[in-house]
Symmetry: none
């Protein structure tokens, strides 16, 4: 359990919590003394919430550590990513919408190039473009091994994910990628006796798969890495007493949410307004709503400072849809920072806004931005503390001790 | 390893990090509403760096805990002093420039006064002044015990340090100081069978040493405490991937730096400019530079508020020497606070300035001082986080997870 002391304190409540995550929200100025993306955005609703609420900054993993999306979301959901690890195969698979259930084994796959002797000449098959890789993945979908089912999905360029399902499978298997060229791929090798049969099933699958790729000299082989299974995380319901819904356009975030037992909501459209409509439609059924906005991160990775600000403005314009629902607690933050200036995820702390009309202790900040959050009343704290704070402000925790 | 999750994330880089430590930097106002020593100092270069960079406050050990110099530096180097302990004998020895290698045994010594019955009448030999103690230490240097070598150095007043070197020595030995008068010093007593021979060797050394002191009634005996050996700290290179240089006038700080595997740079002179010149000369050879300024602490311990401010001003005047080298990351902080008003180390958090032109997220503080640091964007954090932050800002860490 992420916080052992919380389940005994949980109490029934009909209160509602919204966690609005703008991916990669934190930014940097692009000129000395200038604003960040968030500070530059015209966001009157968020500024109003900042005036009425309290600000702070969150550190997703540990100071100085740049998070991947999986660990960053786990942290926001209250699970310390150094304690609760999701295997790389599972993360890649859920990231493209493959389900990894209890006992299913997931792996990440790379197409590679094999020479006439079967040795690897290019570990990434010349970084084969997506349009060339998709038909090869279609071939892999046809490969069958008796006794188990397999599901394959393309990820990006030379990368794919594969999930094997069957009885008594184990993930204790070494990567087949030898990490260098001039040698053949390694066989899938079990690290324990119980994983032996699973390794053999993967080797059968690889062998048949390589046959179907043989006539395609640039990408005529593969390596598999990160064999892993459902991490069996303590559920969100057990950990925090919340019936939780996840609303996201992208499969990765739905996947991580489903690994902690949130219910993924299907909806049409991609705009913040579409996501907020989906939330409204599910309002009566859940206690907790995780909404994920992807494009702040995408614009950050593109180096598009203004584009990132505009995504934030778009979210701000749609915010009244959420406020009309009168949530008891609304938290607006990010999973990590993605400064347009750096074009990548970064370790910088993430702006955090907590609004809870009945219980918040306001600070004297009037706008939502990095500098204001640095002076905010909540200070600088780990992302994993988000859930306990949300529960408290939602009136869902009893007193500790007498 | 101080941070288990860091070594797997390390990546090669040619970036350069400078950690400038002004010993005892943190201070207190001497009149209601007045400035601290740092706030009173005219330090235009540091103020400029504060405008461009980000401020915070560091807590060396734990809140409320006043650190000694050894643990305070360990913390700044990334080693939690509650987890990584340096024995008192080792600390005293490296503090006066004695080398304590693997298997060497170090102890702190006190001269004491023995009466005619061999009982201690004064545990500190009347706090014998340094000039009287030095000739006695010269006598101790002559004392030899077969099978081992010993090295002795004076520390201050009635205190000295001794290091024994030989084969198969063990430090598991009780203090010989009985902590009261009217009884004789205790023999060196082994706490384990393997330390038995070492205890006997120290007893032989003490017995011979006492003979050479016999004609000096005020300081005719000794006690030894803090038997300890090289703490075998994980190296700075393994922990943080940095080739590190230490630049300090005083042996204590060179000693602690060398215990984590930093290379100590020899140079002439004592002024900040001399230390900065030494850094420039070593610039191409190292990734990380620890520079230690002692006199802020000395002036603080003297209760000399203005003197401490002037030391800070002297460092500020020399700062362009460092800036001309164009470091990727420059951190200016202290190991602990030594407010002139208190004339001693204190537990108060320490002002912290991080400047990293390519990656810093600036706050809106414009000057380097305690109050500004209390409002700084980095907040209040443990000193051990200094290194992870430095690595991140120097572009030396990969992303954690996918």
């Amino acid at each position: 359990m992420p916080f052992d002391y919380i389940p005994p304190l949980l109490r029934d409540s009909s209160s509602k919590i919204i966690l609005l995550v703008m991916d990669g929200l934190g930014g940097l100025p692009i000129r000395q003394g200038g604003p960040t993306e968030l500070e530059a955005a015209q966001s009157p609703h968020m500024d109003q919430l900042a005036s009425e609420g309290v600000l702070g900054q969150v550190t997703p993993i540990r100071p100085g550590i740049t998070p991947g999306s999986g660990p960053a979301h786990l942290a926001l959901f209250g699970y310390d990513p150094l304690e609760y690890e999701i295997g790389r195969g599972v993360l890649e698979s859920v990231g493209v919408g493959l389900k990894v259930g209890l006992g299913d084994i997931a792996a990440r796959g790379n197409f590679c190039t094999l020479d006439d002797n079967g040795n690897i000449s290019d570990r990434r098959a010349g970084r084969i473009p997506t349009e060339d890789a998709i038909p090869l993945v279609e071939r892999l979908k046809m490969v069958k091994v008796p006794g188990v089912s397999t599901e394959v999905r393309h990820v990006k360029e030379y990368r794919f994910a594969v999930v094997m399902r069957g009885d008594d499978l184990h993930s204790d298997i070494l990567d087949t990628d030898p990490q260098r060229t001039g040698v053949p791929p390694l066989p899938a090798t079990a690290l324990s006796a119980s994983a032996e049969p699973t390794a053999q099933l993967f080797n059968q699958w690889i062998s048949k798969a390589n046959q179907t790729l043989a006539d395609n000299p640039e990408a005529n082989g593969m390596t598999l890495r990160g064999f892993s299974t459902d991490p069996r995380l303590p559920t969100f319901k057990d950990s925090f007493g919340l019936k939780a819904a996840a609303i996201s356009v992208y499969p990765m975030y739905k996947g991580v949410a489903s690994l902690v037992g949130m219910q993924v909501i299907d909806f049409k459209g991609e705009a913040p307004a579409d996501e907020f409509n989906a939330l409204r439609d599910a309002w009566d059924e859940f206690d907790f709503f995780f909404i994920h906005i992807k494009k702040t991160d995408s614009k950050g990775e593109d180096g598009d400072f203004e584009g990132k600000s505009m995504v934030i403005e778009g979210v701000d314009q749609a915010l009244p849809q959420l406020l009309d629902l009168k949530p008891d607690v609304l938290i607006i933050t990010g999973d990590h920072s993605t400064p347009a200036r750096m074009r990548t995820h970064s370790w910088h702390p993430v702006p955090f806004l907590l609004w809870a009309p009945a219980t918040v202790r306001p600070d004297d900040q009037k706008s939502f931005g990095e500098r204001a959050c640095g002076r905010g009343g909540l200070g600088n704290f780990p992302s994993v503390n988000t859930l306990p704070l949300a529960l408290a402000h939602a009136g869902r925790l009893e007193k500790f001790g007498a």
